[in-house]
Subunit: 260 residues, 2 copies
DNA sequence: GCTTGACCCTGACGCAGCGTCAGGGCTCCA
DNA sequence: TGGAGCCCTGACGCTGCGTCAGGGTCAAGC
């Protein structure tokens, strides 16, 4: 006859676990000896080993109870379900691991790798760190809203960067935001003119690279707010754009709003 | 400005989760509007998306807090550790899954597949179901004690079964246990003579197939008890073996005890 | 102006599977 | 005879929220 400590050691579990199994009725309470100690026989050892085996495989204790008293067919069925759950869980963890791996580089926290590449390209074109960080935050908002569509949009954005006018615009914005001027900086008007030009041309070409998904205004509202928080002169830019017939600021070079 | 519901929906978490993050200080409490509702800005959206990304990867919330305020080097280090943990966890689950797969067949619950094969061989030799089940339970005890060594011992046991005397002994035992005789069944003496013969020969040949590991008596004590519980006539067999100089019953054909 | 439904608030308990005291008794060995 | 190392019960703690309970608020339609 074994004590609870010997039983637990034999089965490779803790004493506390055995008592827990008693408490929830998974393992029957054995008889006590003269001093009130629990004493276990072989049946308990075998049961406990089976319980440990299933529990180690991640089977919930409530299922284990049912499995141990089930007939072979029901048992096999339960095993199949557990195996399916395990497969799903492994898959989930592997997905997490891939995301975590990308996350190692600072930029890609919560961002797919294509976006990180796009940000690198911006940096290479001479866009300032502050602006790249703003772009990154914007893409985090986009990726959270349309995680599956980012990989469609990024190539178009990368292609746009090949246009010297576009990259020039980004650099010009960088310079403005890096400088300490006020709302009266004349370069703001210059920027608005360029941007309105892009937007007009895109509209004429029927170009809608953020397409129907962009019906949802919220992400763009947030991005506008983000931009204003990053630099208050953006508010002036928004006003200038409105005067030129464009409602939002962040969406201007993505999907044109109907002028008005 | 977003309400808590809008914020949660945007980040893909529940409202309750957001409130929980406030409670543990992971996400700062925002300002309230006139009616006491929480109102969130873009910073909260970005934070929450990052938190969700890390949490979905299984990072404990307590770590997330530290990570979000860590410098890039410490962050990268933390990410590496998380990745290691994920790898270990995946490994563990895959091991579980392999065990679970074996467990689909009734016999192999808590048993390695070689043992299941050994049990099948016993059945094929005409050993009764009851005896095979007894053997199975014995091997569960063995496998729990020396999980790494079972695969060394099983081939020797399989080889022994090739000896017609051994398989004959198993069948004889099967017949006895299947019949309804008492302690005076003369076949018990026959069995004891055969077993003692095996034990003597094994001792002479210096054969110790359970070797030093078997210093630990407990598993064999349990197996003896198991056998007695399965059939009380085993007690008679034990007595007969003792008269022939062998202390235990279940270990007789595994490692010979020093006669005494 | 009033209702209705969908939000929001705080506070509190529940869940799984034990770990970990606290405060006591038993046993065995030197 | 004393101390180490077992055993006992009872109770709280941990994670990451889900889920009431018992309220107030807001926007829309009547």
């Amino acid at each position: 006859m074994l004590t609870i400590g010997q039983l637990a050691a034999y089965a490779g579990v803790t004493v506390r676990a055995v008592r827990h199994y008693h408490q929830i009725g998974l393992l029957p309470e054995p008889d006590r000896d003269a001093s009130g100690y629990r004493r276990y026989g072989t049946a308990a050892v075998l049961s406990l080993i089976k319980i440990r085996t299933l529990a180690a495989a991640g089977v919930p204790l409530s299922h284990i109870r049912r499995m141990l008293e089930a007939d072979p067919a029901a048992f096999a069925e339960a095993v199949r379900k557990i195996d399916d759950d395990l497969r799903d869980e492994i898959e989930r963890l592997e997905t997490s691991r891939r995301q975590i791996a990308q996350l190692a580089a600072g930029d890609s926290l919560a961002l797919p790798p294509e976006v990180a590449h796009y940000l690198d390209r911006l940096r290479a074109l001479g866009v300032s760190d502050v602006m790249v960080q703003g772009e990154r935050d914007g893409w985090i908002l986009i990726a959270a809203r349309w995680p599956d569509r980012v990989h469609e949009w990024i190539p178009a954005k990368l292609a746009e960067l090949e246009d010297p006018q576009v990259s020039g615009l980004y650099r010009l914005l960088s310079e403005i935001f890096d400088s300490d001027t006020g709302d009266d900086d004349p370069r703001l008007v210059e920027v608005a003119d360029i941007m309105a030009g892009f937007a007009d041309r895109a509209l004429a070409a029927g170009q809608t690279d953020f397409d129907e998904a962009a019906q949802d205004d919220l992400p763009f509202d947030l991005m506008d707010a983000l931009a204003v928080e990053a630099d208050p002169r953006v508010r002036r830019l928004q006003a200038l754009m409105r005067k030129r017939g464009w409602a939002r600021w962040t969406r201007f070079d993505r999907v044109p709003e109907k002028p008005g």
